[in-house]
Symmetry: C2
Subunit: 250 residues, 2 copies
């Protein structure tokens, strides 16, 4: 199992679980009632309360209160996190040098601890906005299908905006959804929802998903639902240079 | 129980657990293999991998990879997080308006999900640095104890720096540890460690913890171990104005 849980460990069992996780390079997450001290550029203290604690194998340590996206206390990777017992409590100590700082968390009650032997080789890929792709399609609808004509850009529906409302060579309406990244099942869902909405008043409506690429699974889901996929490979993330050259040609 | 765990839920069980947690205002943490899409100012895609997902009742949503202190994707509080099933997977959708953005996470395998009914009324309290307090003590050692004389400021030991190495009226060495925040059991531990170190070569060594305040539990721990506590209330967090006036008097 990638994730292993110990419910309500006593301090000794907690320290044992934490040490094992740190040794093995697992991600630790802990639900606990704790108090926190910070010593570094300034000094700080957070009195007892329930928090989610996260320790990562690179030395990252996060203390999350029940609200807010920022951790109330944290240490970046590069330092160390240690677990030990003290005066009947479990303690997590995260520290680094240069600058010298430490976050010490005393766990008065541990509700549970999860070790997560996580494997993740992926890197976040960011691209430009869909707006660029919309401009291109509006100027070149024949790139999607011969004879396709754009009727409306960003038509509002009760489920949100449809990117393009178009008609094909036979006069059949086509709902076109455009994605700037590799098409996913979420995009398929979205297109299907729009098409079903239009199908309430027009049986003949078609749906078309436009994206730089799609997995076989997504292509199959589209096919099985009589929806079209159009690949605009020149907008792919790894073809960014080419795309940008093309866009500046307008 | 403040924390409740479901191990390896199928998509239906996951969505049910997530919906219940959102309804009840609990903090949700999830270990899962997932892929993530971001749509907003830009577009982004994170291919499949193992991640820790956190959803808070204020709409905060965090996607944490196994390293790094920053979430790879996130949404601040103020929006919504929803759980639903799609094409055989569980999906978490975090979104907000103004600016309009969304993080959609498709969970291909959920290793486990924990709901945390967290209660936390505490606020992080930050104070100035200990350096200010050190200056004051160095100039006014008699404030700690009549006849006390500072021998050395920040003496290095194999366990770190002792704040002050002093001698009392009888010539007995005193290890002084200074804290800028309310004294905690962690501070007691630290002082005890230093004193035990010095006791290896000098039986008579005393230990003194100096802080703006301390709980009864900390005072008792100190007393039980023949360590002294000196309260310098004028450095208390709620006496900040007075402290600052005092410090500028130097």
């Amino acid at each position: 199992m990638a994730a292993q849980r110990v419910e309500a460990p006593d301090p000794e069992a907690f320290v044992e679980a934490a040490k094992a996780a740190f040794r093995d390079g697992a991600v630790l997450s802990v639900q606990a009632r704790c108090e926190v001290e910070y010593e570094g550029r300034t000094n700080g203290y957070l009195d007892e309360g329930d928090r989610l604690l996260v320790a990562k194998p690179d030395g990252t340590f996060l203390v999350h209160q029940p609200t807010g996206h920022k951790p109330v206390n944290w240490m970046p990777g590069g330092g160390t996190v240690e677990a030990r017992e003290s005066e009947g409590d479990a303690v997590l100590l995260a520290r680094r040098t240069n600058p010298s700082e430490r976050v010490e968390t005393r766990l008065h009650e541990v509700y549970g601890v999860t070790r997560f032997d996580a494997e993740d080789g992926a890197t976040y890929e960011e691209s430009g906005t869909e707006a660029e792709m919309h401009e291109y399609i509006e100027a070149n609808p024949e790139e999607l299908e011969a004879g396709l004509r754009i009727v409306e850009h960003e038509r509002e529906t009760k489920y949100g905006f449809v990117d393009f409302y178009a008609v094909d060579d036979d006069g059949t309406p086509v709902v076109v959804e455009v994605k700037r990244i590799q098409a996913t099942l979420n995009h398929f869902d979205q297109l299907k929802r729009y098409v079903e909405l239009y199908a309430e008043s027009n049986d003949e409506v078609r749906g078309m998903l436009v994206a730089p690429s799609a997995s076989e699974r997504v292509k199959r889901a589209l096919r099985d639902n009589d929806l079209d996929f159009v690949e605009l490979a020149e907008f792919g993330l790894d073809a960014k240079g080419a795309t940008e050259a093309k866009l500046t040609d307008f």
